[in-house]
């Protein structure tokens, strides 16, 4: 079946995000692509270890440049700048969650700002073997990653009165709207829903919403509708299967994607990816470091492993990526190896070994 992709010319946006045209830049030595790996805090290093073990087992032509940011705070700019430079050079990164510091801006937010990874895509999909109240969910939550409530512009006007500024611009709203529709086209999705609160925040969310509506007109093959975020939350718990691609300003995604994660079985199962014009960063979708369990190897590595599988596909290593996704699904469907969040007591390493044996079976 021939699928014609319509790429309308928008004068406001000249470059398309790296997901659409594929992996453009990057570092390659001896046939191996170098990818920045930031294990992150809490259980991050353990689930990152799952990925490195799996890649070694699959003999994937990927070399990791590991940067450990656990010990460093925002005051130590050196390590942080190393990470940013590495990502800019390699063009692709795999990242665990960084713990929120008490400082002014969190690490995760700093990354997005410096790299301008403006589009964050969280994928919440149901797995056959994971018992939840709802099944058949496959929703994609896309958020504008660099402005909105997470502009982090706060100040105390007088003692006891704090203001937080939420900034919405036409330029960035148009950019994310175009990204969302291009993403929907590329991945054969049928509908894009704009989530907003424009009845109360008439100017800011109103601007975001009108940018989405304007962009929708250029993609007549994709359905478009709008929904107020409170209704969205209600719909998510009643009938989550109705949602396809959802696009929204920053802070609603935190709520929606975590709600989505809960619906499909937990934070351990949800991958995400962030795109800028030249850089792609892959990381777990629900940002939980689970600091209390650090070092215990009880975390579910699926979210990180699925993120790494999407990374392989981004690097045009489609077969490896697809095999990894299939192996993960098989492990979850069989229900013989389940970590704590899934109701079992398997360790992270046992889960990794289970995925490896599924991979062997695929090749047999």
């Amino acid at each position: 079946m021939l699928r014609t992709l319509v790429r309308p010319a928008l004068s406001t946006v000249s470059k398309s995000a790296s997901t659409i045209s594929g992996f453009k830049s990057g570092t390659k030595y001896g046939g191996k692509t170098t990818v920045t790996l930031i294990p992150g805090d809490g259980v991050g290093p353990e689930i990152a270890e799952s990925v490195t073990t799996l890649f070694k087992e699959m003999s994937v032509p990927v070399e990791f440049e590991t940067i450990d940011l656990t010990k460093y705070t925002l005051n130590d700019e050196g390590a942080f700048n190393n990470a940013i430079t590495s990502l800019k050079r390699n063009g692709v990164g795999l990242k665990g969650v960084l713990n929120r510091s008490g400082d002014f801006r969190t690490h995760n937010v700093e990354f997005r700002g410096d790299l301008d990874t403006y589009a964050n895509v969280v994928r919440c999909m149901s797995f056959e073997g994971v018992k939840t109240h709802h099944s058949g969910i496959d929703l994609i939550a896309i958020r504008e990653n660099t402005e909105g409530e997470y502009s982090c512009l706060e100040h105390e006007s007088v003692s006891g009165v704090v203001e937080c500024l939420k900034v919405i611009t036409r330029e960035k709203s148009m950019r994310i709207a175009k990204f969302a529709f291009d993403y929907a086209l590329e991945h054969n999705r049928k509908k894009v829903t704009c989530i907003h609160k424009a009845n109360i925040m008439k100017l800011s969310d109103g601007l975001f919403k009108s940018c989405c509506a304007e962009t929708a007109k250029l993609y007549p093959s994709i359905d478009y509708d709008e929904q107020i975020v409170d209704n969205t939350c209600q719909q998510l718990v009643i009938n989550p299967q109705q949602f396809d691609v959802m696009v929204m300003p920053t802070s609603y995604v935190t709520v929606v994607s975590n709600l989505g994660a809960g619906l499909v079985g937990g934070a351990g199962l949800v991958p995400s990816k962030s795109f800028g014009d030249d850089i792609a960063v892959f990381e777990p979708g629900a940002r939980h470091t689970w600091m209390e369990m650090k070092g215990m190897y009880v975390a579910n590595p699926v979210a990180m492993v699925l993120s790494s599988a999407f990374m392989l596909k981004h690097l045009m290593l489609n077969e490896a990526g697809d095999n990894l996704i299939t192996a993960v699904k098989q492990v979850l469907n069989k229900r013989t190896c389940q970590t704590r969040d899934l109701g079992g007591n398997a360790t992270t390493r046992e889960m990794t070994r289970a995925i490896i044996s599924e991979l062997h079976e695929l090749h047999a």
Partner: protein
């Protein structure tokens, strides 16, 4: 030490010991569901007298929106009201009437119980849901303070004050104490939601 029962009625009672309650039917399905309530109360012979008022936005010269004076007077007299849903235009139009009402009467705590109803089957009926959400109703993102900095750049202010935060926190604990709830958990946004719960004294 928390003292005083939360939310005691302070209004007057009529000679026949009926309570007068202000009624705002609202928009859309509002008038239909409000008249259902009136019918049911009348059938049950409930000692309630309704004082019905229409609510619509009045734009003042200083740019502020207020609701009609008879509606305001009625609530201040009766101290208790029943309100239907009120429509707010999206992306344009007047400020939300719901917001205006909260501000006019200083309704700082919004209490939303969510309890599984026997006979209504949901995926969650098995374990049963029984929680109460208390929200701060007068500030935060709903300040509605917005402006266009330059064309194409909009700023919205989220305002949080110590006093309002304290008031609603105190309310939540008093509510828990008076309704025999075991613990109060808070839900701020951000990564920082380690499950904090306080035991109610």
């Amino acid at each position: 030490m928390l003292s005083g029962r939360v939310c005691k009625l302070l209004g007057p009672a009529l000679a026949r010991h009926n309570h007068t309650v202000t009624l705002f039917p609202g928009d859309g399905i509002g008038p239909q569901i409000s008249s259902s309530v009136k019918e049911i109360f009348s059938a049950a012979d409930a000692p309630i007298e309704w004082e019905e008022h229409e609510v619509y936005p009045i734009l003042e010269k200083d740019g502020k929106t207020r609701i009609p004076q008879p509606a305001i007077d009625s609530i201040f007299k009766n101290k208790i009201g029943l309100k239907g849903p009120m429509r707010t235009a999206i992306g344009k139009g007047h400020v939300s009437l719901n917001l205006t009402i909260r501000r006019t009467f200083g309704l700082y705590a919004n209490v939303r119980p969510a309890k599984s109803v026997p006979g209504v089957t949901t995926p969650y009926s098995e374990n049963g849901v029984d929680c109460v959400i208390v929200r701060e109703n007068t500030e935060g993102e709903y300040s509605g303070i917005e402006h266009t900095v330059v064309p194409g750049v909009v700023q919205s202010v989220k305002l949080i004050t110590r006093d309002a935060s304290r008031n609603v926190a105190e309310y939540a604990f008093k509510y828990a104490r008076d309704n025999n709830r075991a613990n109060v958990g808070r839900a701020p946004q951000g990564q920082h939601h380690e499950d904090e719960r306080w035991n109610v004294p």
